[in-house]
């Protein structure tokens, strides 16, 4: 396979500092071999605390039933499905970075793809909790799997978007996990081959599956990564499309809009990139990986955030316009009264969503802002708050007032158990991320070495001389070589 990637010499280096292959290994493996810092322990213990809170909340809900949540007659979906869609959305950035950017040959992805993929897997794990525990009788959860049974046989409904969701999310989780882990194998082997301690030899020996770095294995590995990327690209788009079908195929005013699939996918990439920013800004600082996750990476991701945020903004305005232009009184009511009217019970959440998702990311049109770490971190949190409210607006404002005013619900507030469950998924997410950052290389070592040739600072500096020579001089120098070339003499 000839190299398809060309890295312009004009672009700034993707790996800063004078790095050779060995320095790359040293830098990335250092956090794994060092004892965890105090900051790591504090963060880890807080995460475990949240996880325990979540486990208690879920246990309470299982024992006493879904009635422990404040769901009511019209608000059958509240925080739980909001959180589900929010986490699934966050879980889209990793595969986007690793698959779509691989197909587009974006060299910068190598610095951030490993951590983003891990984040994807943890986010999907968190997302999956909500529909599962919302079932109430969770011990019946296996009923969603189609298998010949003695109840008829009673099959699942393959025409239902909720079942599509089961297939989409479980496929997405499996494929992301395989993609992530097959990429990890060579790096785990690197850690194994450096290991001095007995437990490390055992642990990384088991997890690296006996990887040797043989040429034939690399050839197959490359083929595997490319095909998995090709498969994941439509997959990642299909997953949030199918999640949006949960709403779009229904006939609830505010939900049955054909714009939902592209709008959900753009929103997922938007919130996913924001979460990647939040995590990587902390990770690069704590693990001193600033030379690998550079300002360039942060800036590029901020560009993606402003682009997808604006797409989301266009989608919001389009659905608002269609609600008015379509002249369907129910649709119109759902938008104009339940959302746009700031004095309606949930009007505030609509404006919070608009402010966080559409207006605030616009500051990233300015290069200074895109390259400012504090602004980026602050914005990444704001975007995820905004995207949580987007799902809240879609779900709650569409169903809290239905066709019959007598069944309009009272103001919906989550109970402590709903909040605890949500906090618990944060605990699960960050516990997994802390363990990942301690025991696994957070940057794809082999892939960084692969781009080092053309994107490393050493190479760029060497090339700098060429860039400074005027084009005429450069051309004449090289034309000189051609005079002696055999084909010129005929």
């Amino acid at each position: 396979m000839a190299s398809l990637r060309y890295e312009s010499q004009v672009r700034p280096a993707l790996v800063e500092g004078q790095k050779g292959y060995h320095e790359v290994t040293e830098d990335i493996v250092r956090p794994i071999e060092a004892t965890p810092s105090r900051a790591w322990w504090i963060g880890f213990l807080i995460s475990v605390g949240l996880l325990i809170f979540g486990i208690i909340s879920v246990t309470h809900e299982v024992i006493f039933g879904v009635g422990q949540w404040n769901l009511n007659r019209t608000i059958g979906w509240g925080w739980d499905i909001t959180n589900f869609v929010w986490w699934v959305g966050i879980g889209h950035a990793g595969t986007l970075i690793s698959a779509i950017l691989l197909l587009f040959r974006q060299g910068w992805r190598t610095g951030v793809n490993r951590a983003a993929e891990a984040m994807t897997i943890f986010a999907v794990m968190c997302a999956g909790q909500f529909p599962i525990w919302h079932m109430g009788r969770v011990w019946m959860a296996f009923f969603v799997m189609p298998y010949p049974n003695t109840r008829g046989p009673l099959w699942v409904n393959f025409n239902s978007p909720l079942l599509w969701d089961v297939f989409a999310i479980s496929t997405y989780f499996t494929v992301s996990l395989l993609f992530w882990y097959s990429g990890l194998l060579p790096d785990l082997a690197t850690v194994r081959d450096r290991a001095k301690l007995k437990w490390r030899k055992m642990f990384y020996g088991l997890t690296s599956f006996g990887w040797t770095g043989s040429a034939k294995h690399w050839q197959r590995h490359e083929a595997l990564s490319l095909v998995l990327a090709g498969l994941s690209t439509p997959l990642v788009l299909s997953v949030h499309t199918i999640v949006s079908f949960d709403f779009a195929t229904s006939v609830i005013p505010g939900w049955h809009t054909t714009i939902f699939p592209p709008y959900f996918v753009a929103g997922a990439i938007f919130s996913g990139f924001a979460m990647v920013q939040t995590l990587l800004l902390v990770t690069r600082k704590v693990l001193s990986l600033e030379e690998y996750i550079t300002l360039e990476h942060i800036e590029v991701m901020n560009k993606v955030i402003v682009l997808t945020g604006s797409i989301v903004g266009v989608a919001y305005l389009t659905e608002l316009f269609i609600a008015w232009y379509g002249q369907n009184p129910f649709e119109n009511w759902a938008f104009m009264q339940n959302r746009v009217n700031i004095f309606s019970p949930y009007g505030w959440s609509y404006y919070l969503m608009m402010g966080c998702n559409v207006l605030s990311p616009q500051i990233f049109w300015f290069k200074k802002m895109r390259r400012n770490l504090t602004v980026t971190f602050f914005m990444s949190v704001i975007v995820n708050i905004g995207m949580w409210f987007e799902r809240f607006v879609i779900i709650v404002t569409s169903i809290y007032r239905d066709y019959l005013p007598s069944s309009w619900s009272t103001y919906y507030r989550p109970t402590i158990w709903e909040i605890g469950f949500y906090m618990g998924t944060f605990g699960l997410f960050f516990t997994c991320y802390f363990l990942f950052s301690k025991f696994f290389p957070v940057i794809a070592i082999a892939e960084i070495k692969h781009i080092l040739k053309k994107s490393g600072a050493i190479y760029k500096e060497k090339m700098d001389g060429i860039e400074k020579v005027s084009v005429e001089e450069f051309a004449s120098e090289h034309a000189h070589v051609h005079e002696h070339a055999p084909h010129a003499a005929h």
Binding site: D193, G210, A215, E222
Partner: protein, 193 residues
């Protein structure tokens, strides 16, 4: 698997490795394997390895998933237990597209990864001989097998002449065996030189 004798040397970077591999092949020596810390595009061609057929396997797994989904849902909704969903068609193909697509991707991905692990002998508890521990770090290791006909000293001298470093001879199991990296008696990367 057989225990064999190998001559091992390493290069420090890609261009030297490519030049070295070319020279080894034109001198008529057979390369047992090359171990590198990262994928090197074009190395397979330089070594004369044939292209992998993993893509084809992935395609076959994919269409298996497609047919599994379509025939499974079709059989369930038309023959095993036909349910009337609001008078809609029992053969409701558009509504099956999402699940058919997901199963295509799932079968293809799982099948390919399993085939990849099978072909490359990758699994927990699989042990292999590692000729050079730094070939997963920064060294590009070339391994030539010694046969009854070949001359160890000659090959070592040849490797040195083309710029290889750390040349040594190792006696090793050429395949894989079950074991653990911390438990195994066989020292990793034994050097007899």
């Amino acid at each position: 698997m057989a225990v064999k004798k190998f001559v091992v040397g390493y290069f420090e970077d890609e261009p030297e490795l490519f030049a070295g591999v070319k020279k080894i092949r034109s001198a008529g020596y057979k390369i047992h394997d090359v171990y590198t810390p990262m994928p090197i595009h074009g190395l397979d061609k330089a070594m004369g390895l044939r292209d992998t057929s993993l893509h084809t396997a992935g395609f076959i797994y994919g269409i298996t998933g497609t047919t599994t989904a379509l025939s499974g849902i079709g059989w369930i909704f038309n023959s095993d237990w036909p349910i009337n969903f609001g008078g809609k068609s029992h053969f409701d193909l558009p509504a099956w597209i999402p699940i058919t697509f997901e199963l295509t991707v799932l079968f293809s991905a799982v099948g390919m990864v399993m085939t990849f692990c099978y072909l490359c002998n990758l699994a927990p508890f699989v042990r292999k001989h590692h000729f050079n521990l730094r070939s997963t770090d920064d060294q590009f290791t070339v391994v030539l097998e010694l046969t009854a006909k070949s001359n160890e000293g000659e090959i070592q001298a040849f490797l040195a002449s083309i710029g290889a470093k750390g040349i040594n001879t190792q006696v090793a199991e050429s395949g894989w065996w079950l074991g653990r990296y911390d438990k195994d008696k066989t020292p990793i990367g034994t050097s007899l030189a």
